[in-house]
Symmetry: C2
Subunit: 174 residues, 2 copies
Amino acid sequence: MSLTLYQTSVPAFVRGLKILSTLLDKARAHAEANNIDPASLVNARLAPDMFTLAGQVQGASDAAKTGTARLASLPPPSFPDTETTFDELQARIAKTLDFIATVSEAQINQSEGGTITIKVGGKERTFASEPYLLGFILPNFYFHITTAYDILRSQGVKLGKMDYLGTFESLQGE
Amino acid sequence: MSLTLYQTSVPAFVRGLKILSTLLDKARAHAEANNIDPASLVNARLAPDMFTLAGQVQGASDAAKTGTARLASLPPPSFPDTETTFDELQARIAKTLDFIATVSEAQINQSEGGTITIKVGGKERTFASEPYLLGFILPNFYFHITTAYDILRSQGVKLGKMDYLGTFESLQGE
């Protein structure tokens, strides 16, 4: 059984976004339990010129929605990066999941063996769909989820590696 | 063109490990240029109970070699976690790449549609090969590479997102 482009993309986005939502829930609970201003977590970052937690969530959303749309030859929906609270970040994740759910397996798999053209630095570049997904979209998606986790850990939120990896039960169910 | 298990695993490990090697080269150059003790970078971490930079490199190596070995139904080689310098971490990456290079496409692809049994907390658990790779091994591999990057960024090493993602040229060449 080889893998379709759909199997290699959408389940990973859905699983990762749900895990990110759980990380944010735990961060909010940590802020409430410790009288921490939630904004101090939402705006936390690891270096002055890196994105904040909010930016990492927006980045994970962008990687998932743009990757899904491009693989399906659809225009990616535009989500303005205006979220400043945990509620708004959860809504961003929810609308990303909603968009992904509108895309069918067939729409994604029609681009198997095809190419994807994107603008990089004002210049059009064309990639085969498969290395674009495996070498760019997925590493970028996991970058943002991991960095969200790393920001929260650096801020003292009690999380463990399994919070990032998700349960084995949900893995078997896929 | 659907994806084989090999296409979905080994090229990602090789690409990621080479990128990690480049990140470490830049970190060492940063330490030399700024009279920083290299050990302070190798031992840096984002939270007291997270792994150091050395631990993240060891974790990326483990995810790649264990994932490759399990998919190929081979015993994973045991690499002791003894590295304390940039040279030793580079050697760890090199021997991980050397092991991966000994595994053939056919050895990996024979486990398509099969199962992988691992011990988790002393208990045997069995997963289908594909969700094990996509939902566990790859997210775990990118976790360690991203966290290595995040540690170096938090220590002031001059890196940008493209240092993590790698060049588009290398993507097209895969």
